[in-house]
């Protein structure tokens, strides 16, 4: 029975691994921009294979919602593919003559795209795993549909942007990630008279006195990928002089990666001149203000409007009288009014400078965005109110919104993909408790390539990995999928952590695409608590032992993808019984505002209780270390806790292969320690049971699926063990086996060998020495 169950579990595990690989492959094809119809075909084929069904259909809802267009399929009758089916799901099932069917909906943002259906003529039902798998591939298709729409949109918007940029009188520019200008619009060229501004930093067009400051502002902002705003004097061709401009730069992202800035410069020369002239005389200010193209205003000490200039009235289409007092607020867009007014009142109460951006009613009937700024003015040392200027920023604002929207959309695709590539749930592994958490980064700025994974190695040890692909967005998520699969493959065949990491480094370095990743790869012997690990550019794992937390140092080397050849080191440690091991990505401990050492200390302090429920521990660690709000970067956290072995009974089913012997020894070692057996007894009992197991392995039918069972009990000072296999056990097979038998018979008090059901059962008994067994 045990054997059959283990066999079924093995089959399920293989099916899950195969399905995960299929999802990852589809995800990568979707990301590589594969044509949608090809992707649908590939998905239908993969679903048919993985679900073991005869028919799969990918159906797209027609625009009018009245039918379903068969976009792709496997095993569909002639005439169905490319045709429109009725929406009623029962119809297709009848037409196909299927016995059972499952479907999953393909959703893209703002659009219910359609469904993918799997039909079987032979199966009665589908499992939960089946529907989960189908929904996961449907999610990948949904993301791909969205991506295709997004690509069209980006192509359009790039063209639109340049067109728009050249028709607007505003000054516009774009830079690459290094800050060198890649594009300036017609407005900029006219203003500066510069044909040669492309390829150099924008600061070269600044007034010599402002250049250093301009560069500093740009460098600070671009290091943080932040928007910046800066006022400086820009070369002006027509006057052969410089004019004050305000420059606003917004970071640009493609596929989630920072690629530079897009910005506008607005002439604020009059405003600066006005502010200066006002200090001299109110009368000359008004005169000057009316000739200026900017929008200007003044208030009294009570904050009520006392003057607006011609430029303001031209914009609003109102009269001078209408604008006096507090009525300017009526022109502010209702959605902005509360924020704008409360900000203004606060500034006024403290006589601070005030600045805001809001939509103001335009004479055309629409609202248009303006940037408005007021500074307090004093007459003879007495507060006299504010003087303000407003400039129209409508086009800039729309451009920002569009960039933000594109960005948000991409973030969502990356997140969908990342979630579909992470383990759906952690595997259930006997003898260890596992828990994991993944948190995406804040505000969509940082969907990254963080991942975690757990697998059970053929030698009975458990391999754990957490990694972080450098970069963010779609590319990082796709690379993460590839690395995760590579670790699954190499982790199965290669025992040494350093060798696994070295092999993946070679794989990455020989690849076409440049990928860099930090990884912590660790192999745990759950019986002895021995761990071997390699930290490739990754922070150290944390052990929460009963006597306190500590980091596992050593095994450090460069990140994957950084150098070739590279030396990857490995370190070992033994977890004290009752320990919990925490693996995490640097999003948990790395922050600009605090040194790493301090963050590591905080993490160690956050997890002092080794007996806490594992999932609770993960949540509390995240809450304590990250504090309120979302993390800046994404965070993956994996916790593992070896469970104490049962003390009076062992029941194990192991594959009939030599590697199982080491695992059996580990298990016996813990058990025998617990019985209080002496060192000699521990060795001799272990040896005899393993000799019997060795016979089972040698005589197993074929490689692969064969297994053997070991049962051990300790009752009233006596150890009772049995080893059962399904092969024939010969009494003497040359000298070597003869020696094995001699060992078993001489070291045990009683040995019996029985044949049963084509297999062999060896029973052994031995009394352990009284004083130690007590």
């Amino acid at each position: 029975m045990l054997g059959r169950r283990a066999h079924r579990q093995g089959k399920e595990l293989r099916a899950r691994v195969s399905r995960q690989a299929a999802v990852a492959a589809l995800g990568q094809e979707a990301l590589s921009g594969m044509d949608l119809d090809e992707l649908f075909d590939a998905t239908a084929a993969a679903a048919a294979r993985e679900l073991d069904v005869e028919q799969v259909a990918v159906l797209e809802r027609t625009r009018d919602g009245q039918g379903m267009l068969a976009r792709a399929g496997v095993g569909l009758p002639d005439g169905v593919l490319g045709g429109v089916l009725p929406v009623d799901p029962k119809r297709l099932r009848q037409d196909l003559g299927s016995k059972s069917a499952i479907s999953a909906s393909i959703g893209a943002r703002r659009r219910d795209f359609g469904v993918i259906e799997a039909h079987s003529r032979s199966r009665d039902h589908f499992t939960e795993d089946d529907s989960h798998f189908l929904q996961t591939v449907a999610n990948v298709l949904g993301a791909a549909v969205e991506r295709a729409a997004h690509d069209d949109h980006v192509r359009d918007s790039e063209a639109q942007f340049r067109e728009l940029a050249d028709t607007t009188p505003a000054l516009m520019w774009m830079t690459d990630a290094e800050g060198d200008i890649t594009f300036v619009n017609e407005g900029w060229r006219r203003f500066t008279g510069g044909e040669s501004d492309v390829g150099v930093t924008f600061a070269t067009s600044a007034h010599p006195d402002d250049r250093d400051e301009a560069l500093r502002v740009w460098q600070e902002a671009s290091a943080r990928r932040e928007e910046f705003r800066f006022e400086y004097r820009l070369r002006h061709a027509a006057s052969r002089d410089h004019r004050w401009v305000v420059e606003i730069g917004v970071p640009r992202f493609t596929d989630g990666e920072f690629v530079g800035y897009v910005g506008t410069a607005t002439d604020i020369h009059e405003r600066r001149a006005m502010e200066e002239s006002l200090r001299e005389s109110e009368a000359s200010f008004r005169e000057l203000a009316d000739t200026a193209p900017a929008m200007m205003w003044t208030t009294g000490p009570d904050g009520l409007i006392t003057f607006v200039n011609e430029g303001w009235l031209r914009f609003t289409g109102t009269t001078f009288q209408e604008e006096m007092g507090a009525s300017w607020a009526l022109g502010v867009h209702p959605d902005d009014a509360d924020r704008v007014l409360s900000g203004w009142e606060e500034a006024l109460a403290e006589r601070r400078p005030w600045e805001d951006e809001y939509r103001l009613h335009h004479h055309s009937g629409d609202y248009r965005w303006v940037g408005d700024r007021g500074v307090p003015r004093y007459e003879g040392g007495r507060f006299a109110g504010y003087v303000g200027t407003a400039i129209e920023i409508h086009e800039r604002k729309l451009m920002e919104e569009r960039l933000f929207e594109i960005y948000q959309r991409e973030h969502r695709i990356a997140e969908t993909l990342q979630r579909s590539l992470l383990p759906e749930r952690l595997p259930a592994i006997e003898g260890v408790e596992l828990a994991a958490s993944y948190l995406p980064g804040a505000g969509g700025a940082a969907i990254g390539g963080d991942w975690y994974d757990v697998l059970e190695r053929p030698d009975g040890r458990v391999a754990l990995v957490v990694g972080d692909v450098v970069g963010h967005g779609l590319r990082a998520a796709a690379s993460m999928g590839q690395l995760r699969n590579a670790f699954r493959a190499y982790g199965m065949v290669e025992a040494s952590p350093a060798e696994v990491v070295a092999r993946i480094n070679r794989l990455v370095m020989s690849g076409v695409e440049q990928v860099m990743a930090t990884v912590l790869y660790l192999v745990l012997d759950r019986e002895t608590g021995e761990v071997a690990f390699s930290a490739a550019g990754h922070p150290p794992p944390l052990v929460i032992a009963p006597d306190g937390p500590r980091y596992l140092e050593g095994g450090r080397s460069v990140p994957i993808g950084a150098a070739d050849p590279a030396v990857f080191r490995e370190a070992t440690a033994v977890l004290p019984p009752g320990s919990t091991l925490l693996l995490y990505t640097d999003g948990l401990v790395e922050r600009r505002d605090a040194p790493l050492a301090q963050r590591l200390e905080l993490l160690a302090g956050a997890a002092p209780d080794p007996d806490e429920d594992l999932a609770d521990m993960c949540n509390r660690v995240l809450a304590t270390v990250l504090g309120e709000g979302e993390p800046q970067d994404d965070v993956a956290l994996l916790a593992v806790r070896p469970l104490p072995a049962a003390l009076t009974h062992i029941s194990l089913t192991l594959p009939a292969e030599p590697g199982s012997l080491a695992r059996l020894r580990r298990r016996l070692s813990r058990f025998l320690h617990a019985t209080g057996a002496s060192e000699v007894e521990r060795y001799e009992v272990t040896l005899t049971i393993c000799e019997a197991a060795g016979n089972a392995i040698e005589h197993a039918y074929g490689p692969g699926d064969a297994s053997f069972e070991v049962q051990v009990d300790f009752e009233q000072g006596e150890l009772i063990a049995s080893v059962r296999d399904s092969g024939r056990w010969r009494e003497k097979r040359g000298e070597f086996r003869g020696r094995g038998l001699t060992i078993i018979e001489d070291l045990m008090d009683e040995v019996t060998v029985e044949s049963e059901h084509g297999g062999t059962l060896v029973r052994m008994r031995r009394r352990l020495s009284e004083e130690q067994a007590a």
Binding site: R457, P458, D459, A495, P658, G659, L661, A662, R665, E679, V680, R682, Y683, E684, T686, L687, C690, E691, G694, I697, E698, E735, F736, R737, R739, G740, T742, I743, D746, L747
Partner: protein, 114 residues
């Protein structure tokens, strides 16, 4: 996967000293045999195998001891075994009569002073 075993080699006069540590069973016995035979050059008089650091030897490992002794014997070389009297492996070594193929010594010094 193989069980973990490590061999550290040392030349002492006419003898090669091999310190075997870890665990030897059917998964790595063949490897251990290759290593022992390859590390004993023709000009050596004896291979002194120190198993003091061994945690586990099974019948496959014992078979290796017999086999290495036989092969060295053909080259007129001797296999000597070092095992402290307190070793938990002692009874099994005696039971399988390994001493008929390789003389047993209680310390490395006594094995080398022969």
């Amino acid at each position: 996967m193989s069980s973990p075993a490590e061999i550290v080699l040392d030349r002492r006069g006419g003898s090669v000293v091999a310190r075997l540590s870890g665990e030897v069973d059917m998964s790595n016995a063949a490897y251990v045999r290759e290593q022992l035979l390859a590390s004993t050059p023709n000009d050596a008089l004896a291979l002194v195998l120190d198993v003091s650091g061994c945690r586990y030897l099974d019948s496959a490992a014992i078979e290796v001891l017999f086999d290495v002794s036989r092969r060295l014997g053909r080259r007129r070389q001797e296999l000597r075994l070092v095992m402290p009297p307190t070793s938990p492996l002692r009874r099994v070594i005696e039971l399988t009569e390994v001493h008929t193929a390789a003389p047993l010594y209680e310390s490395l010094e006594s094995a080398l002073s022969e």
